[in-house]
């Protein structure tokens, strides 16, 4: 698919804990962990908007397209 999730980087830059972000977005920590590792099929606009709101960033700061990244099996 070539989509890389850079949520870990943004969390580090903003010095935000995963637990706090998960609580604000309204998803479980395990789902946030799956999202950080890119092991999800998709992300809802509502989730993305809540993450961007909390981290004060744009969707492009979290999701990046890299053609060299292979598809998930």
């Amino acid at each position: 698919m070539g989509i890389v999730v850079r949520l870990d980087l943004m969390l580090a830059l903003r010095k935000v804990r995963s637990r706090d972000l998960a609580a604000h977005v309204g998803i479980t920590e395990s789902n946030l962990s799956l999202l950080k590792s890119g092991k999800v099929r998709g992300i809802r606009f509502a989730t993305l908007a809540a993450i961007c709101e909390y981290l004060n960033c744009q969707p492009g700061d979290i999701l990046v397209y890299d053609p060299d990244v292979p598809d998930e099996p």
Partner: protein
Amino acid sequence: MKTHLLQQHARRLRWATLSAGALLALMVLGGIALPGNGVIRVTGEGLPYVWNIVTSAIVVTLAVLSLVSLAAMLRAIGAGDVFARPMTRSFHRFALLYLLSILADLLLPPMVQLGLLFANGGHGLVSVGVDNARVLSLAVAALLFFIARLFDEAQRLEEDSRGIV
């Protein structure tokens, strides 16, 4: 319908299904064990009594196994696994066993008659009868397979939905 209500209904229906399966098995066993008691009678289509029992036992075994599969599907729904793999797999098994029980009911008597005919040197008649009830049962079995395909699609959508955060 709310999920907990669906689960509650599934659990009740499961017990009803298991009871129906047990009752069916007991009735046929009673008919075999107590022949001519006037209440339960195992009948066949011009077959000797022993062959009646054999064909009836096969048909009823398949029917009871299909009900057990249906109960397994309802147990999965009762546990909250709606459109999960165990549920759809049980429904596939139910549809298949139901179809096999109907086909056995339809085809076993003439096959046995044919076998007996050859054993007797080829003298006699083989009667093959397809009535409205059997045609309807076959149509229902085909419909169950179609519903099973729909459940497969629902399971795929459910898995997709779970993968979206």
